[in-house]
């Protein structure tokens, strides 16, 4: 028995000894804490090195026709190249060389660069683009992008003209079509043509793309690594590899960031001060084209929110600047919002009717509407500090004008169900957020009577007509006028209460350069990862 005991003891001791040995090689390969502030060689792009990006979960599916979650989209950005991207109204061409609309705006001719290849060396041609769009349109394939290719109830037609030219034929003029093509990241025909169900295909587990980095290794629940693609059409990327490290707990991930085990990561406003204090990171807030807003459910069974006075009164009861400061801690991380179109959107204007903070006026309106002491059911999503802060703020301020807010915080699946079920009548206000892209036609689904996502249940014939006109108006100036009018109507009717255009904050380790060239991009962090290098 004594022997047993000594074994027990030695096992316990082993743990201690092991932890002691490891102290010798504290600076594990990924630890870049030491030389971060070194000024030498700054700005000089150099080849080699690796980058670790922290992500919150495993990717769901590494196929751009299906990727809908943030992590999959982020990784796809390295693996797959888009046709072209649009930033502040300016096109950057990737696989495509040019995109020309015909005189009648019903045909778009897309020309691909020549000599494009997939990661496996096969040629990337017009066939791949046509194949990708056909699969998006194929109902049995369940692609998330399908609806975008239906214009005026009919599918867009795609035709191969020659090896590098594709024509898109539209059933109706649609200036928003360019914004649809922005979302297309071609998938390889030679890999998927014999797959009956692309979504469930085994081929998605080791994807072949055309982006700056190719798939290397995936350890479920741990990390996914991509390595440099030397034949990338945009020039050989600087970095040898990029690893997406899965860190489910935000607090731990922040510690790993400070420890050099993660180099790039989203951070919450609440954590910026701690991260900044280490002097090892660039803190980069950037607009995601996202609006945080209060959704007024005009369908609620109390009928309260269908009364214009009530919506107006609620808007008057809230102090937007105070709300932003309390929720996002600094005006650097969120801009006051008045219009439903986000600042990155075409024809955005914040110069619309706004019901400013005025408690007395709000009280009068509530009285006029006969809504004194009414109960307001307010839904927020649980587990998000900012959302909870907004909830409490609104509760307190509506109490001042005599409305009793009943807060309920729901987990994401229950919350989404409440939001999108068209028959939900058991709430008045829901705190929501959306990213709709740069073309304002996208908003028609939210604010037209028959919109697929008319969460507010707004019915406004004038707005419906304007949205319809705007979708098919080829003349830029006329189109601008239409969407300016629309922004005014929605604001004046107080259909929603826009809170703020929120920003995303990314922390990037100081040792990396080329961040500006890589372009910070909503949802996917960087648009072009080939430009990032180790200083």
């Amino acid at each position: 028995m004594r022997k047993t005991l000594s074994i027990l003891l030695s096992v316990i001791l082993m743990t201690v000894v092991l932890s002691a040995c490891t102290s010798n090689n504290a600076g594990t390969p990924s630890n870049g804490g030491q030389a971060t502030n070194a000024p030498e060689g700054q700005g000089q792009p150099k080849e080699g090195g690796s980058l670790i990006i922290g992500v919150a979960s495993d990717p769901v599916i590494l196929n751009p026709n299906y990727a809908g979650d943030r992590v999959s989209l982020t990784i796809d950005q390295a693996l797959f190249a888009p046709l072209f991207q649009v930033n502040n109204g300016k096109k950057t061409f990737y696989l495509a060389e040019s995109l020309e609309p015909s005189a009648d705006n019903l045909t778009y001719t897309l020309k691909l660069k020549s000599g494009l290849t997939w990661h496996d060396g096969e040629k990337l041609t017009a066939d791949d683009v046509v194949f990708t769009i056909e699969k998006i349109l194929d109902e049995s394939q369940n692609s998330l992008l399908r609806e975008n290719f239906i214009v005026d109830g009919k599918p867009v037609q795609v035709v191969k003209v020659d090896e590098t030219t594709v024509e898109f034929k539209l059933p109706q003029v649609s200036p928003a079509f360019e914004a649809t093509l922005v979302q297309v990241y071609p998938i390889p025909k030679h890999i998927f043509e014999n797959e009956a169900n692309i979504e469930k295909s085994e081929k998605n587990r080791a994807p072949i793309g055309s982006g700056p980095f190719k798939y290397k290794e995936y350890k479920t629940g741990e990390y996914l690594t991509v390595e440099r693609f030397d034949n990338y059409f945009g020039g050989k990327p600087y970095l040898d590899s990029i690893t997406y490290r899965i860190a489910k707990d935000t607090n731990t991930a922040n510690l790993a960031l400070q420890n050099g085990e993660i180099n790039v990561k989203y951070v919450d406003p609440q954590d910026v001060a701690t991260i900044e204090a280490t002097n090892k990171f660039q803190i980069l807030p950037y607009s995601e084209g996202r609006l945080a807003y209060l959704n007024f459910n005009q369908n609620s069974d109390t009928g309260l929110m269908s009364k214009f006075e009530v919506r107006q009164a609620i808007s008057h009861a809230l102090n937007r600047d105070e709300l932003i400061l309390g929720t996002y801690l600094s005006a650097d991380y969120a801009d006051a919002a008045h219009s439903f179109v986000t600042p990155d959107g075409l024809f955005h204007t914040n110069d619309v009717t706004s019901y400013e903070y005025d408690v007395e006026k709000a009280k009068e309106l509530i009285k006029a509407a006969g809504a004194e002491n009414a109960k307001i059911r307010f839904i927020t999503q649980s587990g998000n500090k900012s959302q909870e802060a907004v909830g409490l703020y609104v509760q307190q301020h509506l109490k001042e004008i005599g409305l009793n807010v009943e807060l309920s915080s729901m987990d994401s699946s229950a919350y989404v169900q409440k939001l999108i079920d068209p028959n939900t009548t058991d709430y008045e206000i829901l705190l929501g957020g959306y990213i709709m892209g740069y073309d304002p036609d996208a908003y028609s689904i939210l604010f037209t009577s028959n919109g697929n996502s008319n969460y507010s249940h707004v019915k406004n014939a004038e707005a419906d007509a304007l949205f319809q006109a705007g979708a098919a108006e080829a003349d830029e100036a006329k189109r601008a006028e239409i969407y300016k009018q629309l922004q005014e109507i929605i604001a004046k009717e107080a259909v929603i209460y826009p809170v703020a255009y929120t920003k995303t904050i990314v922390a990037v380790d100081n040792k990396y350069g080329g961040i500006e060239e890589a372009v910070l991009k909503p949802v996917v962090i960087f648009e072009d990862l080939s430009k990032i290098y180790v200083k």
């Binding site: 028995m1 004594r2 005991l5 027990l8 096992v11 316990i12 743990t15 932890s19 002691a20 490891t22 102290s23 504290a26 600076g27 594990t28 390969p29 990924s30 630890n31 495993d58 769901v60 599916i61 809908g68 369940n142 998330l144 399908r146 609806e147 979504e199 469930k200 350890k219 479920t220 629940g221 741990e222 990390y223 690594t225 690893t243 490290r245 899965i246 860190a247 489910k248 707990d249 607090n251 731990t252 991930a253 510690l255 790993a256 420890n259 085990e261 729901m410 987990d411 994401s412 699946s413 229950a414 989404v416 169900q417 999108i420 068209p422 959306y434 689904i445 939210l446 697929n452 996502s453």
Partner: protein, 316 residues
């Protein structure tokens, strides 16, 4: 003995059936809808219905359950609704990480609990007992997510002794590397398990010390330490077999919080993702899998027990 095993195995079948029905009913009763993860804002109601149909979720609940059961009987746990990978593959992929983590943590907890429990039992209500009790209650009371962050801060950020998270250094595939990553989560988990085992061993030590054989040893002039660690320990260790059998379920279900805090790629974090995405086949698969192991673990404990203590056999 063979008869016993056969009878017990037969008993598990209705039990598993019951477990699966309860689990399925609870998922169905929960708010949320798995189709929502496939819905984009610009889809028509018909598109949503088409997806629901493609996933087989438009059928009545009992039909869905029946279809699921038919496959399970043939050894097919189905496919995840979210990423379409086979459920069994996903569980098996994550199993080593979880079994390693939980196994080491339970093992470590038992190893520490034996001397502590014996000492506490032998010194009942004296300062050593109180101190040990205090330590084990601290272990059970401190939330794992908090302790996890503290040890990461201390050992990874401040001292640079250990990595802060994950199971491997990127691109490295060595056992030593995994052990290095495991030290913090295993210790934190073991600390939280400690109390249960210490209490158990302490009370059986107190019981054993009243037995005649202990009195006889005293009469022979053996010293207290020898009695405790040579004779009493043997008897005390026996019931631990049962305790370990009961831990089998945990062994695969994993520790959701610990795995999340340390980004440990185990079944606990897989289960968390499954619940968030309303991924029923995966939730059902994990539940069923841990139920099977819990039942088998208990059975194994009983069998081992009857070998270790022949008196048991006759009583069954």
């Amino acid at each position: 003995m063979k008869q016993l095993i056969a009878r017990r195995l037969l008993q598990t079948i209705p039990l598993l059936f019951f477990v699966s029905i309860v689990c399925f009913a609870m998922i169905k009763a929960a708010p949320g809808d798995p189709v929502l993860s496939f819905v984009t804002p610009n889809m028509h109601a018909e598109d949503i219905e088409r997806i629901r149909h493609n996933l087989g979720l438009d059928k009545p609940a009992y039909v869905q359950y029946w279809l699921w059961l038919k496959e399970v009987v043939q050894g097919n746990l189905g496919y995840s609704l979210v990423n379409h990978q086979p459920v069994l593959d996903q569980i098996i992929e994550r199993l080593p990480a979880t079994a390693g983590l939980m196994g080491s943590a339970i093992g470590l907890a038992v190893l520490i609990a034996i001397p502590l429990g014996l000492t506490a039992g032998a010194n009942r209500n004296r300062w050593a007992d109180k101190l040990i009790n205090f330590i084990s209650y601290v272990g059970i009371s401190i939330p794992v997510f908090w302790l996890g962050i503290i040890v990461i801060y201390l050992f990874a950020i401040k001292l640079h002794w250990l990595p802060s998270m994950g199971m491997r250094t990127i691109g490295v595939n060595s056992t030593l590397d995994i052990i290095k990553h495991a030290i913090l989560p295993v210790s934190v988990l073991a600390f939280s398990f400690l109390a249960v085992y210490v209490r158990y061993i302490r009370s059986s030590t107190i019981g054993q010390l009243k037995e005649e054989y202990v009195q006889i040893q005293y009469a022979f002039g053996s010293n207290k330490k020898t009695i405790l660690f040579r004779h009493v320990m043997k008897h005390v260790l026996l019931p631990i077999i049962t305790l370990l059998g009961m831990s089998m379920g945990e062994l695969v279900a994993g520790a959701i919080v610990t795995e999340t805090v340390f980004s440990w790629p185990g079944i606990g974090s897989l289960g968390m993702t499954a619940v968030k995405g309303m991924d029923y086949p995966l939730i059902m698969g994990i539940t069923l899998f841990s139920a099977v192991l819990l039942i088998l673990g208990n059975l194994a404990a009983d069998i081992l027990y009857s070998f270790a203590d022949p008196r048991i056999k006759s009583t069954r």
